[in-house]
């Protein structure tokens, strides 16, 4: 089962309410996305920690229902 952009945004916003999120469906199959996420939660954290937070917000869906999501994160 694939995830929609709306569902992905909701999952991320649940954990990071202040996040600005831009998601692109790269090939139009609801399965390969890229996301640019900006949130103050990332401030002072390493890239690995930032990406781990995004994965955490996706509640184990990354690598399962969600096959491919390329992530760019930025603090504020």
């Amino acid at each position: 089962m694939a995830l929609s952009i709306k569902e992905i945004k909701k999952l991320i916003t649940d954990l990071m309410p202040d996040a600005t999120i831009e998601i692109k469906d790269l090939v139009g199959d609801n399965n390969h996305y890229s996301a640019k996420i900006t949130s103050k939660i990332f401030n002072g954290k390493s890239k690995i920690e930032q990406h781990k937070l995004v994965y955490k917000s996706l509640q184990g869906k990354m690598g399962n229902e969600l096959h491919a999501l390329s992530i760019t994160t930025e603090g504020t």
């Binding site: 890239k47 690995i48 990406h51 491919a68 390329s70 760019t72």
Partner: protein
């Protein structure tokens, strides 16, 4: 041998180690191909570990790094990141700097 022990052995006995889908000569996933190409571009000798050959390794490395996706790059025993991070570090020059600091290049 326990999976975790096997993984730790691989990571410790290879200075640059890429857990990937497929092999460096024939990656089987675009993300694995990207990281493999970056390392080749920088002329880095690296050990490619094909996780598609062993489901235990595939699950084990995700748990060990606490990271849900493949590829995963280790440099001198340290988890550096997945495809997005490596690509970003390559583009900013940070990856080369790290490899220099770790005396790989």
């Amino acid at each position: 041998m326990e999976t975790k022990e096997k993984l730790t052995n691989i990571i410790n006995s290879n200075e640059v180690c890429l857990f990937m889908k497929g092999v460096p000569e024939a990656p089987q996933c675009g993300f694995s191909m990207t990281v493999s190409k970056i390392l080749k571009h920088l002329n880095i000798n690296f050990k490619g570990v094909n996780v598609l050959e062993d489901e235990n390794l595939r699950q084990g490395i995700k748990e060990l790094s606490d990271w849900p996706t493949i590829p995963q790059l280790y440099i001198k025993g340290e988890f550096v990141g997945g495809c997005d991070i490596i690509k970003e570090m390559f583009e900013s020059g940070e990856l080369k700097k790290l490899l220099e600091t770790k005396k790989i290049i």
